[in-house]
């Protein structure tokens, strides 16, 4: 057991010292530009165990919207849901993989939390007080992911060298899976096209 733990720590250190970088852009057809943003680009699997961050990721409910709209997290992460509006908000998810939770209603300034245990879960978040609100939590295996900005740009840093599968998640559209090789150092550039 001690041997295994030591191996894992060494493995994690090696992975952590990688300086590879993946940058790129998401493209869409003219009518689907709005889907460029909030798309998750992630490495499907990297050997090793990755612990969730000490500080919980936060989804803010502000201006009757979930911010961010898409939140990728590591398995075991607890997400804090903050209400910043002057109205009551609720958060629930009908997805089995997120244990179909409902956190009830709470006022401005308060936070309620939920832990995501299932790797691969693509869970929608809804507010039963404001049915138009919608957001997604994506549970991933490793921390090598990025969420695209408005223009569709993404940047994944400190990726250890190796051969990987790079995937894209979008709430509406799909993209081709890419096999990539991260060199000892340097940046690789890769673009994706989102299609129906």
């Amino acid at each position: 057991m001690k041997y295994m733990t030591t191996l894992l720590i060494i493995n994690f250190i090696i992975i952590s010292t990688g300086i590879g970088q993946i940058t790129g852009k998401i493209e869409t057809d003219a009518g689907k530009i709005k889907y460029k943003a909030n798309t998750v680009v992630y490495i499907e699997h990297i050997n090793g165990e990755f612990s969730p961050p000490e500080k919980n990721p936060v989804i803010n409910q502000i201006g009757l919207k979930f911010v961010p709209h898409t939140l990728p997290v590591l398995k075991g992460s607890t997400v804090d849901f903050l209400n910043s509006d002057n109205v009551l908000h609720n958060v629930f998810s009908p997805d089995k993989c997120a244990n179909k939770f409902n956190l009830g209603n709470w006022p401005r300034g308060e936070v309620r939390s939920h832990k995501y245990d299932n790797f691969g879960c693509e869970s929608v978040l809804l507010c039963n007080v404001h049915p138009e609100m919608e957001a997604y939590v994506i549970v991933l295996q490793n921390p090598y992911f990025a969420v695209t900005d408005k223009e569709g740009n993404f940047n994944i840093e400190n990726v250890p060298p190796g051969d990987y599968t790079l995937k894209v998640w979008n709430e509406k559209l799909k993209a081709k899976v890419e096999q990539i090789t991260i060199p000892e150092s340097g940046t690789i550039q890769i673009n994706f096209k989102l299609i129906k």
């Binding site: 057809d29 997805d95 809804l126 049915p131 138009e132 919608e134």
Partner: protein, 420 residues
């Protein structure tokens, strides 16, 4: 000299219209931020894309979402579908109130009796139209003549359309149902509501009781039967394999008035389009109204009317064709019918019409119609017409109606038609 006069007429039209300042903005134009000519060749006549738009529940037939520029108000996130029946199915509201207006007025010079010439400015007609989508699968259309030729008008169309029903089990677009008050979709391309002439299509409005005369327009109440009367009921329609379309309806049968019997009227239509844009908006060749295609249709209507407590069967049967040869659009149809058991109740009627787009803004039309009531003389008329779009939503029209049996100058109509 002739060329000079023609040029002056064109200059007058353009000056009159302020061509560079206006942009067409009725409800769908606003939603998609596109000109009227996307759907209309010369409004209100629909081009093939406009027909596909209508068949698709007032949405772009392909990739609608990509083309909507005016974001709708979301009444529920799409993921709420997963929660149903524990929550309301998600829907949407149009981003702005989807209302459009259409106004018409005209000036007529004509004969009164054999020789007396008269002229008259016509009373205007103001029409309101509201239409949009309430969710992916529900559309609505409301049309009202607010003011019609000097009188307060009526609601003419008021229906909800459920689109793409059972889409998990049936092919896409194969079943749509609309309920409410509408014009039966029997002969779509000869609709008076989507025609450019001031004279109504006798094909849609003629009944044997009219004898040698043609009725002027729609029947709002329970007057003479016409296949394009406004009716209360339900209608199913759908597109099969892109190029076949069916319509089947069940209506009260007494126009917009309460029915006079407990029988419902039935009607149906089958059509097939070869070439050009398919009914579902997919392409084979050509774009918008510049295409080569032929659409053939057959239709039937069977109803019962009650007169003095007697139930009387009546029916209509017919076929039609709509041909596009690039800028030339030829339309024709034949209808036969009977409003009772006696010879005097029977008739047949045919019409043929040519539309030619000299320019995208200038359309010429010539229509011939002949009604043959049994045992009576035929009624014939020839309708030459010119429409000029000064801008996409303002149309000037010049039309006359000639009685072929006794050719003489009947009237000359100058019209102005605009929508916003």
């Amino acid at each position: 000299m002739k060329k000079k006069i023609a040029t002056e007429v064109l200059v007058f039209i353009f000056l009159f219209s302020g061509i560079n300042e206006l942009f067409s903005i009725p409800a769908f134009s606003r939603k998609y931020k596109t000109s009227c000519v996307t759907c209309h060749s010369s409004f209100p006549k629909l081009n093939p894309f406009g027909e596909a738009f209508r068949y698709n529940g007032y949405k772009f037939p392909v990739n609608d979402e990509d083309n909507v520029k005016e974001e709708p108000i979301i009444l529920g996130a799409e993921a709420y579908k997963m929660v149903w029946p524990k929550a309301v199915w998600p829907g949407s509201l149009p981003g702005t109130t989807p209302i459009a207006f259409r106004g018409r007025t005209g000036f007529t010079i004509g004969n009164e009796g054999d020789s007396l010439l008269f002229s008259e400015f016509g009373k205007p007609t103001l029409q309101l139209m509201a239409s949009g989508v309430l969710s992916e699968g529900i559309s609505f259309f409301i049309g009202a003549h607010l003011y019609e030729e000097g009188k307060m008008g009526n609601i003419d169309r008021f229906f909800i359309r459920f689109n793409n029903l059972f889409k998990n089990f049936l092919p896409e677009k194969s079943l749509n149902i609309r309920v409410g008050q509408f014009i039966p979709d029997i002969v779509p391309f000869a609709s008076n509501h989507r025609g450019i002439t001031n004279s109504a299509y006798a094909f849609n409005t003629y009944a044997p009781e009219l004898g040698t005369g043609f009725v002027a327009g729609h029947v709002h109440g329970g007057g003479p039967f016409g296949i394009e009367n406004f009716q209360l009921g339900a209608e199913a329609s759908g597109i099969v394999k892109s190029r076949f379309r069916y319509v089947a309806g069940l209506v009260n049968g007494n126009g917009t008035e309460d029915d006079d019997n407990s029988f419902r009227d039935l009607y149906g239509r089958l059509s097939f389009k070869l070439g050009g844009m398919a009914f579902d908006g997919t392409f084979r060749d050509g774009v918008t109204d510049i295409e080569t295609s032929i659409t053939l249709g057959v239709f039937a209507y069977k109803g019962i009317k009650t007169i003095n407590s007697y139930d009387i069967d009546f029916h209509r049967l017919g076929f039609d064709a709509n041909i596009y040869l690039n800028k030339l659009n030829l339309v024709g149809g034949f209808i036969t019918g009977s409003d009772g058991n006696q010879d005097k109740d029977k008739y047949n009627l045919f019409f043929t019409e040519a539309n030619y787009a000299f320019y995208p803004w200038l359309t010429g039309l010539l229509r011939y119609e002949q009604a043959n009531p049994k045992g009576k003389e035929s009624a014939k008329q020839l309708v030459p017409h010119i429409s000029a779009l000064t801008v996409a939503n303002v149309r000037l029209k010049l039309e006359t109606r000639l009685d072929i049996s006794d050719i003489k100058f009947n009237n000359l109509y100058f019209g102005l038609d605009f929508a916003f």
